[in-house]
């Protein structure tokens, strides 16, 4: 242990005296600072806008005056997706998944106002989030810090001198790894403290679950990723004869991990499991609602069947004789059939998303960047599953809200009575405001088992490889 510490101390001292390392560290720290600052500003602005809009819409709903419940069901309401506090760290898919949805009877509207729509084309290259800096730029700093860790010693001849003191290559390697890890932790400390303080200052406890555990796991996972890149860089340096080769090898790995593999896999996934266009998707739902899921039970037939069943059940001759308003019941039945159709189509869509995601998870076994990216989005609750969960809960809320309107119509109004019947504030207040909570951390973790396995396996594999190579390598060329 003493040898590791001596080597680590020496490495830190040298790194601090090298201007390149200081300059790169400063750049990373500035970028992290900027990304955190913009993340906080964006979070606060969006959160403020969402709260304001949500309050306005709630007020509109409550103050809509007396009217028929079905008219109220079409008057509808807006639901705004609340930002999670961790979205200031990792924007994830929030930029692309939309921030609000209009809820009304009969229709499942798509999410609107995707932030990406309001940005210029540069958004295609990704926003500068803290997660992006740590996932993509931090490995670059590590590469520049460690690519010459051994090659420089070989080129200078100091490695032979070190080894002649009775120090093993394994000790030298671990001493260096320890040094780089300490340097990186030092650079990250102000950022980590900043994140922790902001999380507690800005936290929205009603939205995100298990915040502490999420922050802890995010920290641990990012540390593991940084450690992984440090070990990889040192390992490549050990195996390279000259610094230039080590740098080229590591930059190639970086480009493969962060650009080529993710982009290729996204295209491959889309090719293998193509999503229908929005037009086709909507037309499919409309067609099945009109003609029935079997294609031969149109709406009129379904209503007639329901009418016949109810007349028979209540032993009456006409709908006017039923003890409730048949229009309300038939509307709810139509609503429920529409929900069934929507669930079938949405289920198909989700199935494709899941297949694409699963493919990404399998590929992440070979790409630690993709593994970290997925875990980070998941823990920040800005991933696809968080978005899907929100959509499901919103749809569920819509269904309860519409059912309430239809039931009231069925129970309290008469057949053929539409403009004559109305309800007021008591009814509007009985529709509770929508409150959202992210899925628990455990359900998130279950979705990213392969990604955790990937990071863990990479670390174990690299450690074993490093120990094996340092034991086998002789210094005849060094």
């Amino acid at each position: 242990m003493k040898t590791y510490i001596l080597i680590a101390k020496k490495e830190i001292k040298i790194a601090l005296r090298e201007k390149l390392v200081l300059a790169l560290s400063s750049i990373i720290l500035v970028l992290l600072g900027i990304s955190l600052f913009t993340g906080v500003i964006s979070y606060q602005q969006q959160q403020k806008a969402i709260t304001k809009a949500q309050d306005e819409k709630r007020k509109e709903w409550l103050e809509q005056g007396d009217k028929h419940p079905h008219i109220a069901a079409h008057f509808g309401t807006f639901i705004f997706k609340p930002k999670t506090v961790l979205s200031l760290f990792d924007f994830g898919l929030d930029t692309y998944t939309g921030t609000s949805v209009y809820l009304e009877a009969h229709y499942q509207h798509q999410f609107m106002f995707r932030p990406a729509q309001d940005h210029n084309s540069m958004i295609r290259f990704g926003e500068l989030s803290s997660a992006l800096v740590l996932q993509i730029l931090m490995p670059l700093l590590i590469i520049f810090l460690a690519y010459a860790s051994f090659t420089k010693e070989k080129e200078r001849g100091t490695l032979r001198l070190l080894n002649s003191q009775g120090v093993t290559l394994t000790s030298i390697a671990w001493g260096k790894i320890m040094a780089y890890f300490i340097i990186l932790l030092t650079i990250l400390t102000p950022f980590i403290l900043g994140i922790l303080l902001l999380s507690y200052w800005l936290k929205t406890p009603d939205t995100i679950t298990d915040l502490r555990m999420r922050i802890g796991l995010l920290g641990t996972t990012y540390m593991a990723y940084i450690f992984l890149f440090v070990v990889l860089s040192v390992l490549v340096s050990i195996k390279s004869s000259v610094s230039r080769n080590a740098l080229l090898t590591l930059l190639t790995c970086w480009i493969l991990f962060t650009i080529i593999i993710p982009k290729t896999m996204a295209n491959f996934g889309e090719g293998l499991y193509p999503l229908p266009s929005m037009k086709i998707y909507k037309e499919g739902i409309l067609k099945d609602k009109e003609n029935g899921l079997d294609g031969k039970t149109p709406k009129a037939v379904r209503i007639a069947k329901l009418e016949k069943e109810l007349l028979k059940k209540y032993k009456v001759d006409s709908v006017q004789q039923l003890p409730f308003n048949f229009e309300g019941v038939s509307m709810q039945a139509g609503e429920e059939y529409g929900d069934k159709v929507y669930d079938v189509h949405w289920g198909r869509l989700l199935n494709i998303f899941n297949k694409q995601n699963k493919l990404g998870s399998y590929v992440s076994l070979f790409n630690p960047y993709m593994a970290l990216r997925n875990i980070s989005m998941g823990l920040s609750a800005t991933d696809l599953s968080a978005s899907v969960d929100f959509q499901k809960k919103v749809e569920n809320y819509r269904r309860i809200f519409i059912k309430k309107m239809n039931n009231d119509m069925a129970q309290n109004s008469n057949y053929g009575e539409f403009y004559e019947y109305s309800v007021g504030l008591d009814m509007w207040e009985s529709v509770e405001d929508f409150k959202y909570k992210t899925p628990s951390i455990y359900s998130t973790l279950k979705k990213y088992v392969l990604e955790f396995v990937s990071l863990f396996s990479w670390i174990i594999l690299l450690i074993l490889l490093l120990n094996y190579i340092t034991r086998k390598t002789k210094l005849n060329n060094g």
């Binding site: 040298i14 005296r17 200078r156 001849g157 002649s164 003191q165």
Partner: protein, 233 residues
């Protein structure tokens, strides 16, 4: 102290060192002469376990260097032709670091004295090594050997490229260490230095130790003739 038995190193069909039998006792300075590629550095690299022998063995203080490299390295000090230190550290910091690795801990003042005694100018002790000449770096190497209280010195052409004054200072330091019983194996091209400093001289050619004698048995002219004879044959 240093001993080899039939020490051989082959690279494929090429024999870099062929059945070397050598013994260097405490207080001996054994100078290995020979052209480039004669096997001098190979011998030193084998003692350092930087390479493994094809056959035969090398021992330091009776310990096999291949089987117990860490133990043998605890008692030796190595100075290559061009001792490279960490340029961004001072001479004192370099010495402190390398001493620490060998398990020797000295106060800064003690290390300063060691550097000074090894001939490094006081002004340079706390300057970064990037400002050092080759001679200055070699002196840090000597200070390191002293600090580590090495029983064995392995020197690979340590005076190559040094000016005569610096070479002379280096020889004096070797003689000081010899007086303390340090066994030295020095590969060199410098016949004068070998005759002047060495207690024993060996001439190597194509991996074979072709001559071995005590330096007191020959004068400089005879040594030069003998060396040239082997080089020309």
């Amino acid at each position: 102290m240093l001993k080899t038995n039939g020490l051989t190193k082959k690279y494929g069909a090429f024999t870099a060192l062929n059945a070397l039998d050598l013994e260097i006792k405490e207080g001996d300075i054994f100078c290995l002469l020979g052209a480039n590629g004669a096997g001098k550095s190979t011998t030193i690299n084998l003692f350092l376990n930087f390479i493994e022998p094809t056959s035969g063995s090398a021992t330091i203080n009776g310990i096999d260097v291949t089987k117990h490299p860490l133990e043998t390295k605890q008692i030796l000090s190595y100075i290559p032709e061009n001792l490279m230190l960490y340029p961004n550290l001072t001479g004192l910091e370099n010495l402190d670091f390398f001493c620490g690795l060998g398990g020797k801990n000295y106060a800064k003042a003690e290390l300063g004295v060691l550097l000074e005694q090894s001939g490094l100018q006081i002004d340079f002790i706390n300057k970064r090594v990037q400002n050092y000449s080759k001679g200055m770096r070699q002196k840090v190497g000597i200070a390191l050997a002293r600090a580590r209280e090495a029983k064995v010195l392995l020197l690979d052409e340590p005076t190559s490229g040094l000016d005569p004054k610096a070479s002379n200072e280096f020889s004096e330091l070797l003689l000081e260490m010899k007086a303390k019983g340090v066994a030295t194996l020095m590969a060199t091209h410098d016949l004068f230095r070998a005759k002047d400093t060495g207690t024993h001289i060996g001439i190597m050619k194509e991996g074979v130790l072709v001559e071995k004698f005590e330096s007191k048995d020959v004068n400089f002219q005879d040594l030069e003739k003998l060396y040239l004879k082997h080089m020309h044959n």
